[in-house]
Every structure is written in structure tokens, then in C-alpha cells.
């Protein structure tokens, strides 16, 4: 498969562009907040939703004998 043929666009690639790119125009109502907060908002939304559903592939291996939260010190 060449990558060019891949049509399923990853949401993160899309958000890189839609939240950080594009012309920024102050609309009548919304962009006053959106302009400032969008990038932070998407990360927050994504991270919390990912954490609920999927475990990260980079979860550090748990050190035996330590309760969760205290490993990796």
C-alpha cells in the first residue's frame, strides 16, 4: 500500500490542522474563546477520553512490589 492511498484520516492529524491551522477570524460569537483555548481543549478532551478507554502503549511497566502511582520514581 502506498500511503497516498490511505483515505482514513487520523483525528490527530486533522486536529493538528483544524485547531492550529486555518485562518483565524474573530467570528461574531465564538472565536474569542476558541482562539485562545482550542489547542488546550483538544488535548484535554483527547487525553481524558483515551485514558478511559484504551491503555497507552507506553504505559511504563509496573514495578513489582510498589503500589500503583509510586513506581517509576
Amino acid at each position: 500500500m502506498t500511503v497516498v492511498e490511505r483515505r482514513e484520516i487520523a483525528l490527530v492529524d486533522l486536529l493538528d490542522r483544524l485547531l492550529a491551522g486555518g485562518v483565524v477570524i474573530t467570528g461574531d460569537i465564538t472565536l474569542r474563546i476558541a482562539d485562545v483555548d482550542l489547542v488546550r481543549i483538544d488535548l484535554k478532551a483527547l487525553i481524558s477520553s483515551v485514558n478511559e478507554n484504551v491503555s497507552s502503549p507506553f504505559e511504563p511497566p509496573r514495578v513489582r512490589g510498589l503500589p500503583p502511582g509510586e513506581e517509576g520514581r
Binding site: 484520516i9 487520523a10 490527530v12 490542522r17 483565524v24 477570524i25
Partner: protein
Amino acid sequence: MSGLRYVYAVSRPLGAPLQAELAGVGGAPAALLHHHGLVAVVSTVPEHDFAEGALRGNLEDLDWLAATARAHQGVIDALTCVTTPVPLRLATVFRDDSGVRAMIEAREDDFRRLLDRLDGRVEWGVKVYLDREPAEAAAPVAARPASGRDYLRGRRESAHRGEERWHTAETFATVLHDRLAHFAEDARLHPPQNARLSGESGRNVLNAAYLVGRSQSEAFVELVDRSKDETPGLRVELTGPWAAYSFAGEAPAGSAGEER
């Protein structure tokens, strides 16, 4: 009519009709609003979703954000088939058509300048991933370290391998970026993606966008393809062609330098 006007992009008048029954955010049909020789592509969105307070909450709802972003992209994609649009940022909303017209008038010169600059060009995304350390899989299943000293030596060697791999990846990404940026008309670096967000099984060391003429795109893609198998353990991923999102947020002509 209790609805707001969502604006996707601004372009010059289309040479060919927009795809029939093109649906925008929330399924509402996308329409063209002509003004001062420019075209805004708009649709109606419900006020209860896009008023200031509601939007703030909605943007933190991943399903809502994903659906809105994909609908936005769907309209831009269809538009890109018939023209070179200047895409606007997600969730640019006006009260009504006259608000959109006033915006076009206020920014007319900026839009024309951007349209000239982007005309006939597309954006390609290139990412480089450093695959996960293959050590556990590749190394022979070592016997339990015979002593504390063996154990520490093993740890040191593993850390050293990690550093080397990282250094190789950085060098590769820098060389590749230089090569592609030299070929392209312009380049932008996005922050590396968090693996937790992308779900990719590797560490993102380059996340870049390149502005390339449509007629040069085939050669650009070949250039990227050729780099793919250069270095084991590194993965190159190409996305696109995109509308020139990453090159539309420019400071007005005359101010030099990159955005970040």
C-alpha cells in the same frame, strides 16, 4: 431563522459546481455566499451548539469534536476538488449572512493575498516515528543476571542503546526535513504528536507540513517514498494532499519568519 452561519473557507468563484448535496456540520447543506468577488462556503448550525458557553463544553466532548472536525474536513475536501480554498479554523461562526459579508469586506485584501499565495498548491504531511525499542524481542532471553554487577551493566547498555537510537532518529528527521523543505515552497513544523492521542506505536520525532504545487506533488511523494527504507527502526508516514491549512494562518505579508 434561529441558526448561526458556520464558515468553512473562502475561495474565488468556483469554475465548477460544488458537489451536489454536500453536507456540512450537523448534516446541514453547505452553500456558497458570493460577496466582493469572493466566495464564503457556509452552512447553518444550531445556536444551542455554537453559542459561546455551549461551544466550550462541546469542544471537550471528543465525539462532538471528532464529528465536527470531520464534517469541516469533508466540506474542505470537496472544495479542494474544484478550487484552492483558504480554509478557516474550526468553529468560525457568525450570526447571519451579513456578518459573513462584513468579515469578507474587512479582510478582503488578506484573502486575496493568501489565495494568490496558495493557488494551485496543496499541503502534504510527513511524520517520522521511532519504533519502540525492539530489545526485549530481539535480545536473546537472557538468563537471570548472575550478579548485581551484571544487572547494572545490562541497564547501562540498554540506556546507551536508547540514546543512540534517539540520536539516529533526530539526525534522520533533520536531514529529511531539510531535503523536503528545500523541495517544497514552504514548510511548517507541528509539535510532535503524543502517542496517547495518535495511538501510534512509536515515538513521533517529526510532524511537519509542506506546501507543494500540485504539479510537483508526484515528485514530492516520490522523494518521501525513497526515504522510507533508509533507516531501520524509523517509520515515515505521508498524509495528504490536504488543503493548505498549515499555511493559511500566516501573519500578513511583510512580517518575516515562521509562526512558532
